[in-house]
């Protein structure tokens, strides 16, 4: 069966997307749970261990506190309380921390540092995995055992004000509630006032036991202006006043004889140096935890707070309220809270905590009895029993207290190692689905690699021996074998397996496909080997060797793929791309030099051998040839300047946005522009950029689209002015800021209009006349529609990225790709490199935190899921997308030079996409145990691993996101279905939803 390269490539990509989807489904493990809906019951609690048979404590210990107020401040960083900022802006809290009856800790959150998983962690005590980020699109009610459920069950009355995520997680748990939505990040006063307005009345009442306040303002300020902005100080002072109010009110309610009250101040996650969160850098992970109660001893001086895990708060609060610990808790009791209680009580609490952990361990690990933590717990339990016996006998000697301390230490050690090993096996991987996915991806890769020579031949067609392999015996044998394996695997595993749960027809289709692919690959390879030898010889003699540029392109692509094995290279991937891009420009420069200097030389050499003229004669002949083509000389210098201009552009863009991890905090041009003093500069820059965009794009458009583009770009500026990013010259600073809905929708209309004209032209060229000119104009119009949309969604300081992108494309097309006659494969790889580099030039990185979610709200009144996802995904991947669409335009205009250009480009793109995808999959599989072993590694390593996870996650997204684009390049008919392709992109970007939902905070 002969098929075209482009069709073949599209087919491969579709299969690969399927393989990756299967792999991802298996890769993101479900967190450890003894069972989802089971809840701890009071009746299940163990009695106090005792060696003997004297009566002892069998019930749950009584509560330690009467009322608990939890003040959760979103994105409260540890140094906002314990650092110099706290000293300056939170004097009351600092006073309590330093001199008051309080305990302070640094609570370490786990990645992903977004609000919903953190709330879940705080309330269940378990560690939500990355799957929770992915799966919780609609934030369904929390079914797991949790503190809120236990409290409700015990008849505690709860009141909640703040982020409505809580209301969705815990519906019908609160006797009184008021949720604030955090849709508009730019609002940082109203959200908090909506919480505080209830405070006075609630504090006066006596009908509640637990009050939870979740303040969002600080997080919004962080997203808007970062942790060092001038808005942070007043916000912290506001929070301090609120704490003061609550604390004095609680103090006044304190009665003799009754239990004391507890005030908890905590943060759900921190804030990175740029003000966002989601990753796992130290400032994002470290949150303060301050427990204030008259039951505690007064502090004498400020001590450096101890570090605890964020989940440790769960068992501590459970005991504080006299509730059973929730079932899936992996946290450990914070012992200093109990410092005033008797040793017997302390041991009792530790025993309960240990018992719960050992239960969880028993339920989740098969070989739990061999675990050191479990053994330690058994030993501690025994010595606890012995101690109890002595204690109940009335022994009060020194020996007893020493022994008690020993038991305490044993318990603490046991808790620690059990907690560690529980979080270690946080996830089980669905290996079978992963393997099937990997096999499909690898097969596609092999198929692509095996057919390189055919697909890149001048006919751009390849011969797939499909029918012969479908009728062969090995095919049926393989089918049978795979079915057997499938049945065996699915019947033998106890754990749930996604691939097994699929319907039979689908599974069978996959099996048939896999075996067919295997047969095809084998037969192609066999054919290559059998009559490949003489051919390869002739080939090697005919086109001997690659040029330097080819070598660079190949080694660069492969080297980049290999570099992803090191986590630092993933973190700093932008450096790799910038570096490669610079080298590429220099290599192109060398090529240009060679063309314009030594081509003449070789020509001269030819002349040399013929006439042997003297140098002077040559010079004169040079002179005589020059005047005849002054434009050629002009062209030559422009061509020489092109790579240098590109280099300069890249250098400027590089300093526009600092990304990555190690150097992300360095000041960059983008921050300078965004600071409030530089409004005028930003406005000027945005205006010039928009004008330049117009001039760069308009030249190949029809008149209608030209006008639409111009108006659209005007609309972009007025949108930015309405939102308050830029200024009109006649406007004064400090006027009202709107959401700019009208302006944004105005632009959307023009975007749609331009896309429509483009689609119309394409259709016309396809149906009525097969006119290449109309077709390329249509393509260019679609492209300019994409550019306009990008201009709207990009933040104003990023508009130069768009300008430089267009500039580089224009000059490179004009002088390099056309001038130097690079073939389609080379051009495709160059486009791919540029696209990757521009992804980072935009300020993105392999970290979730750098995704600019504000793009999802442009022109929307409310949060509407699908458009928001689409817009966010579009603005994130705008760089690669623009380059890919430009590649389509370019290759289409090249078809007259070589008809196979489109096929070659498409094929190369597929190959370029599938090599990293396959390598990432293998890397992710081999590193899977590193990713989630949170507590075993030192904090630094932990940080890195979490990061790897992050970036892998985004990598998958990434290869996903821009892959369907190749379909655009693919069959030229598919061009009208641009929308369809974008639909696929946004389907893939479903992973962003969680992010959007979570980041409503």
């Amino acid at each position: 069966m002969r098929i075209r390269s482009s069709v073949f490539a599209s087919f491969c990509l579709i299969m690969e997307v399927f393989g990756i989807a299967l792999f991802l489904r298996g890769y993101f493990p479900l967190p450890v749970k003894s069972s989802v809906s089971a809840k701890s019951k009071v009746a299940d609690l163990p009695t106090e261990p005792l060696a003997g048979n004297v009566a002892n404590w069998t019930k749950i210990p009584p509560p330690l506190f009467k009322r608990v107020v939890i003040v959760l401040i979103d994105a409260l960083r540890e140094d906002f309380v314990f650092g110099p900022k706290g000293k300056q802006f939170m004097p009351y809290t600092r006073h309590l921390v330093e001199r008051g009856p309080s305990h302070s800790f640094v609570a370490k959150a786990r990645a992903p540092t977004v609000t919903m998983p953190r709330i879940k962690a705080l309330m269940t005590g378990s560690i939500p995995g990355f799957i929770d980020v992915v799966m919780n699109l609609n934030s369904p009610a929390l079914l797991e055992d949790n503190l809120m459920w236990q409290a409700k069950n015990a008849g505690k009355k709860m009141v909640f004000y703040g982020d409505d995520t809580w209301l969705r997680l815990f519906p019908k748990h609160f006797i009184e509630q008021d949720g604030t939505t955090s849709f508009f990040v730019s609002d940082y006063t109203e959200v908090d006032n909506n919480v505080t307005r209830h405070l006075d009345t609630t504090l006066e009442r006596d009908d509640w036991d637990i009050l939870i306040l979740h303040y969002l303002g600080l997080d919004h300020i962080g997203h808007l202006t970062g942790p060092h902005s001038s808005l942070i100080g007043p916000k912290l002072t506001e929070m301090d006043d609120i704490l003061k109010k609550i604390h004095t009110s609680l103090m006044s309610k304190e009665e003799e004889g009754s239990l004391p009250n507890l005030l908890v101040l905590c943060g759900d996650h921190g804030m990175s140096e740029t003000g966002s969160h989601g990753g796992s850098s130290e400032p994002e992970l470290n949150t303060p935890l301050v427990l204030i109660s008259p039951a505690f001893k007064r502090k004498v001086a400020f001590e450096i707070p101890e570090t605890v895990e964020q989940v440790d708060l769960t068992p501590t609060l459970s005991f504080g309220l006299g509730l059973p610990i929730s079932k899936n808790n992996v946290g450990r009791l914070i012992l200093p809270v109990l410092e005033d209680n008797s040793l017997r009580e302390q041991l009792r609490f530790l025993h309960l905590n240990g018992f719960q952990l050992s239960r969880l361990m028993r339920d989740s690990t098969p070989a739990y009895e061999k675990d050191t933590g479990y053994e330690q717990f058994r030993i501690a339990e025994r010595s606890h029993g012995n101690w109890m016996k002595l204690y109940l006998e009335g022994n009060t000697s020194e020996v007893l207290s020493n022994m008690g301390k020993k038991v305490l230490k044993q318990y603490l050690d046991a808790l620690k190692s059990m907690s560690l090993s529980l979080s270690k096996q946080l996830g089980k991987y669905d290996m079978y689905s992963m393997i099937v996915g990997t096999v499909i991806v690898l097969q596609v890769l092999f198929l692509l690699l095996v057919s390189v020579a055919d697909a890149l031949s001048s006919s751009a067609e390849l011969d797939l021996p499909l029918s012969s392999s479908l009728c062969s015996l090995p095919f049926y044998l393989l089918c049978l074998m795979f079915s057997g394996v499938h049945v065996m695997v699915c019947t033998s595993t106890e754990s749930s397996c996604y691939f097994c749960s699929l319907s039979w027809a689908l599974v069978f289709a996959v099996i048939v496909f896999v075996s067919a692919l295997l047969c095809v690959i084998l037969s192609i390879m066999g054919r290559k080997l059998s009559w490949g030898r003489p051919q390869t010889k002739s080939e090697s003699s005919s086109d001997s060797g690659f040029s330097e540029l080819d070598i660079l392109l190949l080694t660069g692509t492969l080297g980049h793929v290999l570099s992803l094995a090191a986590s630092s290279f993933i973190e700093e991937e932008h450096q790799t791309w910038y570096f490669l891009l610079n080298t590429l420009c220099l290599a192109v420069f060398q090529d240009v030099c060679r063309k314009y200097f030594s081509e003449k030389r070789s020509y001269k050499d030819l002349e040399d051998s013929l006439y042997q003229p003297s140098k002077d004669e040559l010079l004169t002949s040079d002179y005589t040839s020059k005047p005849s083509s002054t434009s050629a000389g002009y062209e030559k210098w422009l061509a020489l300047a092109t790579p240098l201009v590109t280099l300069a552009c890249c250098r400027i863009l590089r300093s526009l946005n600092q990304t990555g991890v190690q150097w992300a905090h360095l000041p960059d041009f983008g921050h300078w522009l965004n600071s409030s003093e530089h409004h005028t500069e930003l406005s000027l820059l945005a205006a010039t950029s928009l004008v330049l965009i117009f001039f760069l794009v308009q030249r190949r458009c029809s008149m209608v689209s030209k006008i639409a583009l111009g108006l659209g770009l005007l609309g972009v500026y007025s949108y930015r002015a309405a939102v308050g990013n830029v200024l009109f010259p006649w406007q004064q600073e400090g006027r009202a800021i709107s959401k700019g809905i009208v302006e944004a929708r105005f632009v959307y209309i023009f975007v749609l209009g331009i896309l429509f004209t483009g689609a119309k032209d394409l259709l016309k060229s396809q149906v009525i006349t097969s006119d290449t000119k109309t077709k390329s104009r249509g393509l260019w119009e679609v492209y300019s529609g994409v550019v306009l949309l990008a201009a709207l969604l990009f933040r104003p300081h990023n508009l130069p990225v768009l300008v430089f992108c267009l500039l580089i494309q224009t000059i490179m097309t004009r002088f390099i790709w056309k001038g130097l006659q690079y073939d389609a494969a080379q051009t495709t790889i160059m486009h791919y490199w540029f696209g990757q580099a521009f992804f980072y030039f935009q300020g993105n990185s392999n970290n979730i935190a750098t995704v600019d979610i504000s793009a999802g709200f442009v022109g929307l009144e409310n949060y509407v899921e699908i458009p928001a996802i689409f817009l966010t995904a579009f603005s994130t991947y705008a760089g690669p997308l623009l380059w890919a669409s430009h590649l389509v335009c370019y290759l289409n205009s090249e078809t007259d030079r070589s008809s196979a250009a489109m096929g070659h480009g498409c094929y190369c793109f597929a190959l370029l996409r599938s090599i990293p995808a396959a390598v990432y999959i293998i890397l992710a599989t081999s590193l899977r145990y590193h990713l989630f072993v949170w507590s075993v590694f030192s904090p630094k390593l932990l940080l890195r691993d979490a990061y790897v996870c992050d970036s892998f996650y985004l990598h998958f997204l990434h290869c996903y996101g821009s892959k369907p684009l190749c379909l655009v390049i693919g069959p030229s008919k598919a061009k009208q279905s641009f929308f369809h392709i974008l639909a696929i992109t946004w389907n893939k970007a479903v992973y962003y939803v969680d992010f959007n939902v979570l980041n409503k905070t």
Partner: protein, 238 residues
């Protein structure tokens, strides 16, 4: 070569050439060895003489000593060997213009390298002196040798660095050492983003070390490669 000579004389000529080449290769080996030794000495001698000298700690000192050493040895060797193209006029004024022109070329190449390094992402203002020192080192490894062997002659440079443009084994060695030092510097940039926090990851140490190692490797590779390919290498006579 014009194929007008008889086969016998052609083989004789080839033989003569091969012996000539062998002598030249030997000369090159010794010259390259001296240059390599000078680099080693530039590392060892200051370590013995100076207190608290280390390649990482006082990197710039090492860099300057190394640069100066290599430059001096190069100039000395190539003046002694007389590889540079014979000039028609041997007057003092001509020599002076040649030397001053060479200095100008050298300065220019330093600035060019500096520019390229900045384009590659080196900080623009901070640590500009380090960047410039690195540029000087690279120029010493590449431009200075070109100046010594080819003289300040732009045409000759273009010839040598275009494909199949080498006219003597010195040209080939120039191509190899230049390429290897540049590639060494290029590869030296890769460890910088790794967060191993080693002393040699500080800018520009890994790059300078890469360039130096590449240069030394080039010095050894060049004669070996020429020796290996001496049959295939036929140079056009000037």
């Amino acid at each position: 070569m014009e194929p007008t000579t008889t086969p016998v004389s052609a083989t004789q000529q080839v033989k003569e050439k091969v012996t000539m080449k062998d002598i030249e290769i030997k000369g090159m080996v010794s010259a390259h060895c001296i240059i390599a030794v000078s680099i080693v000495m530039a590392t060892i001698v200051p370590a013995v003489l100076l207190d608290d000298f280390s390649v990482y700690g006082t990197h710039l000192v090492w860099l300057y000593i190394c640069t100066a050493g290599v430059a001096a040895v190069n100039i000395a060797i190539y003046t002694v060997l007389g590889v540079s193209p014979p000039t028609k006029k041997n007057t003092l004024s001509h020599k002076v213009t040649k030397v001053s022109k060479s200095c100008l070329y050298f300065m220019f190449s330093c600035l060019l390298f500096h520019g390229i390094i900045v384009l590659y992402g080196a900080p623009l203002l901070e640590s500009a002196s380090e960047t410039f020192s690195f540029a000087v080192l690279l120029s010493t490894f590449t431009t200075l040798r070109c100046l010594c062997i080819l003289g300040p002659n732009g045409q000759a440079w273009i010839r040598v660095f275009s494909r199949n443009g080498a006219m003597s084994i010195w040209d080939t060695s120039l191509q190899i050492t230049t390429a290897s030092s540049v590639i060494g510097a290029w590869l030296g940039a890769f460890p910088i983003p790794l967060d191993w926090e080693r002393p040699w990851q500080v800018w520009p140490i890994s790059c300078t070390l890469g360039a130096t190692l590449g240069f030394v490797a080039g010095l050894f590779i060049a004669p070996l490669w020429i020796h290996w390919h001496r049959k295939q290498l036929t140079y056009k006579s000037k």
